[in-house]
Symmetry: C2
Amino acid sequence: MAAPIDFYFDFSSPYGYLAAQKIDALAAKHGRTVDWHPILLGVVFKQTGMAPLTGIPLKGEYSKRDFARSARFHGIAGFRVPTKFPIASQAPSRIVLWQKARDAALAVRVAKALFRAYFVDDVDISNPDAASAVAAKEGIDAAAARAAVDDPSVKDALKREVDAAVGRGVFGSPFIIVDGEPFWGLDRFDQIERWLATGGF
Amino acid sequence: MAAPIDFYFDFSSPYGYLAAQKIDALAAKHGRTVDWHPILLGVVFKQTGMAPLTGIPLKGEYSKRDFARSARFHGIAGFRVPTKFPIASQAPSRIVLWQKARDAALAVRVAKALFRAYFVDDVDISNPDAASAVAAKEGIDAAAARAAVDDPSVKDALKREVDAAVGRGVFGSPFIIVDGEPFWGLDRFDQIERWLATGGF
């Protein structure tokens, strides 16, 4: 069986959110599964000297317009730029990574719920209590999820994940690696689709 | 008749080159024409604090791979990252802008020839003599084209074009404005297509 597609995302990334709505179906269409990797773009940006999109003159204003237009273009209803944006994404990332080691399928459902809470329901998921409450609605023990956010071993595991991502060349969100081939951005899904269909071009 | 689509590009931009191969056909399919605007990303980047793509750690390496892959994906043969890359694009931009005031259709042919010389034939079009020689092959007087590069009135006209572009929110290449709606990147051509077909979404 073919290896999973690696899907890297930051919970504060609008294009990451939009990609998260589509990646599983795209993979399944080609008989593939997806390995979901939460990362911290803030840490990645320190290593590359990049800045958050919305703080850049001209590009920032354009981006906010493009987030919403891209959501409409891809038929993803309910998207809005959250009141608090961008956010630090340690809390949701640690909860998902902690859960992934216990039940990877449930971790993906939790990741999707966290994304939706932030980008549709305007919940500030950078708050550990708020993030744990979202996870609890998916059937996870809220106190255990909340404890994971402050667990040194989970913190270390996330640091290692981010370092490993940077080691593979990941510099943005969403970032997808298919059989060693890197693709950055929701707007490469057309190329990913052809890559999966043809084995490369 | 509907207004032309505004197409902003830098002669040093690989995605600008790829977009230049497709923009006229896309517009014509929807009964529209294209107004070609050479700009100087170096000047724009000073105003936005952005950096050339290929100088950014990780993103730079990825970009070179993506340039070539995107060319293959879009069926554009012959693309290569030029030996000298990126380049300052004053010389080709001034020749095209100067020619545009005399014969806009010919200026577009010259722009396409300059892009092809740089990205297919590896000609250093930042050199005024080399750029003039490319223009001459399209039927323009080489000495007149060469003189335009150093003409203060042409220099001023290009500065005004770049300022006007920034004033409209242009921050990258290619950048397309359709009836006031801004689109950045070759990878927004799918959205541009739907926008042209539907009048907005």
